[in-house]
Amino acid sequence: MADIAIRAVRKSYGKTPALHGVDLFFASGEFVVILGPSGCGKSTLLRMIAGLEDITGGEIAIDGRVVNRLEPRERGCAMVFQNYALYPHMSVAGNIGYALKVSGVPKAERERRIAETAKIVGLQDYLARRPAALSGGQRQRVAMARAIIREPKVFLFDEPLSNLDAKLRISMRAEIRKLHQRLSATSVFVTHDQVEAMTLADRLVVMNRGHVEQVGRPLEIYHRPASTFVASFIGAPAMNLVRSRVEVESAGIRFGGAMVAIDPAFAAKLRGQDVTVGIRPEHCCLAAPGDGGVEARVDFIEELGVGRVAYCEVDGLPFAISLDDHTVVAAGDSLFLTLPSEHLHFFDIESGRRIETDAAAPVAAPAASQHSEQTMGVH
């Protein structure tokens, strides 16, 4: 059990910066997921916590102790690598027990703990095999077991599930979750898969281009994205973002040949200003034609099995709408939408940062706020 404090941490490779001042605090026992597109610096951050990468600036403290200058082995972290990085010349038992061997645990004790750990991940029948003779999922378990056996204070995962097929990924996801409940070590999990992130995280860190965009509980981030980047990155299909002007006389925004009403007080605050307006595809409601709804022309339909997504065009811009099973539409049809004002998001057109409305009231549970306080965001 240990907390991790990341203070103004920067990283450059030569002259190219990869991280621009990251401030984060992971509480003891928390399961934190770092989410972001490829190349945003997730792995870099994780590897700096592990001690595999030098810290260019700022400091990282684990359990209150600054670890900048400590070797990986002195930090008490265990890591699961994306490609597992199993020792190909050792058996499964050898792989799992290597850390114990290095630290000089006697053979009998080592074997007992290997057997114990192998049982947790369901590998007891494979101990004598070489990694080459295992399936992808089994290799993944070996990598997990290798991390578990050390009873680390901190678990670090670098996209450990990305090489597995979809079904296995879901079951491993559940197992990782269960394992965390059982061991309750602080866990930092890096992924670019938002479903993985939403399902695993106690708290989610969204990164983009070496910056932290937002930190919060998954639902809080889903309901109140702090920027257009987060808004379009979280949720599938992505949130629709359109540029519009807030008209104060009618307390609304003009969109798709219709007037979408917004909270009058809010409209007064932003009067005449251009903003980016966002609405999630699943929050658009269908209206009867002639009710003054926004008109959307359907370009194509994506069937999901449960429901479908209509990719439409509004004012010449792409706009996605989630439909339920019963709504049958075809390409070329026109749909009429009402956009509930409580589901509208507003972002500054320049910075892309969220503009708070009272209408879009916080959905997050009160317990979340305790964590959010510790969030310092970007510097």
Binding site: L52, F81, N83, A85, H89, A99, V102, A132
Partner: protein
């Protein structure tokens, strides 16, 4: 289907291959045939066709204590030299592979000796390690005759082996560095996370994964030690087999017998024995060492 160029006529490909075939014929098959021929015959001293003598040339070689001396010298040379050349190359490669500041420069530096011809290196070391100059001279002043390759066969043998090691460490270094760079970096990182320091990582992860490269080097280096041009060149340039046959490796003795003693038949017989010896060695290595090498 990939496209292939097909020759319509039968003679054109042969014409293309001819220069290479001629070279192989002149410098490989013909000498081999000649050696086999000489090994089993004797030239009559006053001319006339060569006489078939069966295994007499071999028996003569085996009966000569100096021949057995050269076998022992060669074995020492071809075992000690390669083992040190590989170990030193390995240590240097692991050091350079860590990519600490300046490793690019050292990589260049360590490869250099390989670019120097054996005899030239031999001449240089004859001066560097001569008993009456430099460090060796001061040592000799303190302990007389602690280092004198001109006088002691063991010292001379050590000298030629050192030169061999100096030159061939660069060669093993290149191969081992290439081998190390193909070991996934994540493995070293995983071992670091598991608590292993640099030394432990080298022993537990890097060296086992280098086994195929090490095995390859063991075979080529030992062959080089037995029959390599450098083995002959170094001995020839530095000690000429002396003192008192102390550095007379098999190749040197063969060349000496053939071209100084003009005993083609004896030299040929010894060549064939040497080839046989290398085959046995290689067989042993493949049989017993290769089994322990992991390719995966």
């Amino acid at each position: 289907m990939e496209k292939r160029a097909v020759f319509k006529s039968w003679w054109l490909p042969i014409v293309f291959a001819l220069p290479q075939l001629l070279l192989i014929l002149c410098f490989f098959y013909w000498p081999v045939a000649a050696v086999v021929n000489w090994a089993f015959t004797l030239e009559p001293p006053f001319g006339g066709p060569a006489e078939f003598v069966g295994f007499a040339n071999f028996q003569e070689a085996f009966a000569d204590p100096f021949y057995w001396n050269s076998v022992v010298v060669s074995l020492i040379f071809a075992i000690v030299g390669p083992l040190f050349a590989i170990s030193i190359g390995l240590v240097l490669a692991i050091a350079v592979d860590r990519q600490l500041p300046g490793s690019g420069f050292f990589r260049f530096l360590y490869i250099l000796p390989y670019a120097i011809a054996g005899p030239a290196a031999g001449m240089a070391f004859r001066f560097i390690l001569s008993p009456e100059r430099g460090l060796a001279a001061s040592l000799n002043a303190m302990w007389p005759d602690i280092w004198n390759p001109a006088k002691y066969g063991e010292h001379a043998l050590a000298l030629v082996i050192i030169i061999f090691i100096w030159k061939w460490s660069g060669y093993t270094f290149i191969f081992l560095l290439a081998g190390l760079q193909s070991v996934p970096r994540a493995l070293g990182e995983a071992a670091a996370m598991d608590g292993a320091g640099p030394f432990r990582r080298a022993i537990d992860v890097q060296v086992p994964l280098l086994a195929p490269t090490l095995f390859f080097l063991l075979v080529t280096m030992m062959t080089e030690g037995f029959v390599g041009a450098d083995t002959f060149g170094i001995v020839h340039a530095v000690t000429e087999g002396g003192p008192n046959h102390g550095t007379e490796v098999m190749v040197y003795r063969i060349v000496d017998e053939a071209f100084k003693g003009l005993n083609y038949s004896g030299a040929s017989a010894q060549s064939i024995i040497l080839i046989g010896l290398i085959m046995i060695f290689t067989f042993i290595q493949f049989r017993f060492v290769e089994k322990r090498v992991h390719y995966k």
